[in-house]
């Protein structure tokens, strides 16, 4: 029992040696790192799997732990920034924190989920949010129609300028010729192709009308005026030959959808333009970004409406050859859109 100091000392030394074997790090920051490295690597594996879209391979436990691991990493990074001078480990932590942040705060839902919400109320809310701009756009379109009508009434030479050269439809055409442009299209072939072409063309114009809102909304206004001026000129032409109602029905069957869509696209452009010109209390950048996010769903809706309009124009107008029926379809579509936008989901 006399050698107990030596035995104790030996034991202490062995303990120290073993401890060194397990944790060779001498620096405090390295011990900090060793204690957490496993969690970091686990988070990295989860983040990599999510980034590669391989969610299926992750266990439920991994997904549940993701926010926890992310917050642990955030605190590791905050500590490491203040206590560690290991540049490589810091760079790794910074990068991993960013990647995990992108995942944690990435899009919350997939596009399908978002789209369902969009159809079931998101679209209507987006349209209602810009109703003031819709009123402006509507006033512009009405004014455009009136001005177009009056210009051509004043001097028919303006017709070619507003509505373009058309051998079948011009002030010199007879009532019979004009009638032929409205009826008798059902023998036509290739209706589906026509519908597809109309959709592609109109959708691109509508996106342009919206995008040009970026130039303070002026080009959007001009596009609205130009389109409605053309409509006004054509209305005058057909009115002069006593075909106003027939022409209105011919336009209305798809026009209540198509013109509505163009109205919304123009309103979106005006909304953006207003946000740039009059940002109010926000900075211009914040104001524009908020306006863009409000109007983007409206524009997705516009594209969908133009798809419907293309089909109505390509098929329904050619196949339905009577004015009352065309008016009925057009009126139904208008009622449908109005109810969907302004009544559906309006209760809070």
């Amino acid at each position: 029992m006399k050698d107990w100091p030596n035995r104790l000392l030996a034991r202490f030394r062995r303990g120290a040696a073993q401890e060194q074997h397990i944790a060779p790090a001498t620096l405090r920051s390295d011990r900090f790192r060793q204690a957490r490295e496993g969690d970091w690597r686990r988070l990295e594996a989860i983040v990599t799997a999510v980034e590669k879209g391989r969610l299926g391979r992750l266990s439920d436990a991994d997904l549940l732990d993701l926010p926890v691991l992310y917050r642990q990493l955030a605190s590791s990074l905050a500590v490491a920034r203040e206590t560690s001078l290991d540049a490589a480990a810091l760079a790794y932590l910074e990068a991993l924190a960013q990647r995990a942040w992108f995942i944690t705060y990435g899009p919350r839902e997939n596009f399908r989920g978002w789209f369902m919400g969009f159809i079931l109320g998101g679209w209507s809310r987006a349209v209602r949010a810009i109703r003031f701009d819709i009123l402006i756009a509507l006033a512009l379109m009405v004014a455009g129609v009136a001005v177009g009508w009056m210009m051509v009434a004043h001097d028919p030479a303006f017709y070619a300028m507003l509505a373009g050269q058309d051998p079948a439809r011009n002030p010199a055409s007879s009532a019979k010729q004009l009638r032929e442009t409205l009826f008798g299209g059902q023998d036509q072939d290739a209706l589906a192709a026509f519908a597809a072409y109309l959709f592609g063309h109109n959708a691109q114009i509508a996106i342009l009308c919206f995008a040009l809102g970026f130039a303070i909304g002026l080009p959007s206004v001009l596009l609205l005026l130009q389109n409605s001026g053309m409509l006004g000129a054509m209305l005058w032409l057909f009115h002069g030959k006593g075909l106003l109602l027939d022409f209105s029905a011919w336009i209305a069957i798809h026009g209540t959808t198509e013109l509505f869509a163009i109205l919304l696209a123009g309103a979106g452009g005006i909304h953006i333009g207003r946000a740039i010109a009059f940002p109010g209390e926000l900075s211009v950048m914040e104001s524009v970004a908020a306006a863009g996010r409000r109007t983007a769903p409206v524009m997705l809706g516009v594209v969908l409406m133009l798809l419907v309009a293309g089909m109505l124009e390509g098929f329904a107008r050619q196949l339905i050859d009577s004015t009352p029926q065309r008016l009925l379809v057009g009126g139904f579509m208008l009622t449908f859109w109005l109810v969907y936008f302004f009544v559906f989901g309006a209760r809070k």
């Binding site: 910074e94 192709a193 597809a196 592609g200």
Partner: protein, 296 residues
């Protein structure tokens, strides 16, 4: 303030909801142009493939021109073509950027991604908004410039239109955050997608050294020199290590190590210097570089 707390001109700091500050590096304009070129090349390749397939099918249909089915088939091909054109023009960027990586194939290839400028969630609305403007930024300027070049007697009007559209196309050149018009509308920006491997800790792997450095020998360097030394050790180029070892020994008045000794000496010096500087850090004394007298 340590050197790592200084933002480079191309870095932006965002504060996450947890209160953590993250440093995002804005994507370079040339990298973004490269990403766009890759994406357009992909779209072009798909279009070329589609045209070839259509022409081939159309030629096959030519044998049956008498049959009405051939006409319907041709019509179907036209619709397919229209839908494909519309989807490629508007959907390519949209669909890829909605994915978890927030990047098109071109951006992914160049290590870029999109993020919300305010540090919040990237939403579907943002991705939609930023891609709705692509038309006036890419396709219309392209068409306008080509038509201005193409017409033999290029009128002033054509060039004025091209110039106007080029304003949109060149928008990222004219602002600090390199936003294109779509980014501005959506409240997004394009940043570098971070990627870094966790390297071995140099101080942990080093065998316990036979060197002992006194405070005076460690006091001459700061964090900047420590990080330079770390880089040299990770690169492990013998010539550079020998030069650094000689420089350190000249400063502290030791005789320079030779052969295998060089690495052992540098490892030991790195560990000792880091221990000293980190200790200072814990007491709130930073020594940024060798000219900084704070920790002396």
């Amino acid at each position: 303030m340590s050197p790592q707390n200084h933002l480079r001109p191309d870095q932006r700091e965002i504060i996450t909801p947890e209160g953590l500050s993250l440093r995002l590096t804005l994507a370079g304009r040339s990298a973004r142009l490269g990403a766009l070129a890759v994406d357009l090349a992909c779209i072009g390749a798909i279009l070329l493939g589609a045209v070839l397939a259509l022409v081939y099918t159309q030629a096959g249909l030519g044998q049956w021109t008498k049959r009405p089915e051939a006409h319907h088939a041709a019509q179907f091909l036209f619709i397919l073509w229209t839908a494909l054109m519309f989807l490629l023009r508007n959907g390519w960027f949209l669909i890829f950027e909605l994915g978890p990586r927030g990047a098109t194939p071109g951006k992914r290839m160049l290590g870029l991604r999109i993020a919300a400028r305010d540090g919040a969630r990237l939403t579907t609305e943002m991705v939609l908004a930023r891609n709705l403007l692509r038309d006036i930024e890419i396709f219309l300027p392209m068409v306008a410039v080509l038509s201005a070049l193409g017409t033999p007697s290029s009128s002033m009007v054509n060039w004025a239109a091209a110039g106007w559209f080029l304003l949109f196309a060149l928008f990222p050149l004219f602002n600090r955050d390199r936003l294109r018009a779509g980014d501005m509308i959506a409240g997004t920006w394009v940043v570098e997608a971070p990627r870094a491997r966790l390297e071995q800790a140099l101080s942990a792997q080093a065998a316990r050294p036979d060197y002992a450095f006194g405070p005076a020998e460690l006091a001459i360097y700061g964090e900047y020199e420590l990080q330079t030394l770390e880089r040299v050790l990770r690169d492990a180029s013998p010539a550079a290590m020998e030069a650094v070892a000689r420089a350190i020994c000249a400063k502290i008045g030791w005789s320079a190590p030779q052969g295998d000794e060089v690495r052992r000496f540098l490892d030991a010096y790195y560990t000792a210097l880091r221990a000293r500087l980190e200790q200072g850090l814990r007491f709130g004394r930073r020594k940024v570089n060798k000219h900084d007298g704070a920790a002396r």
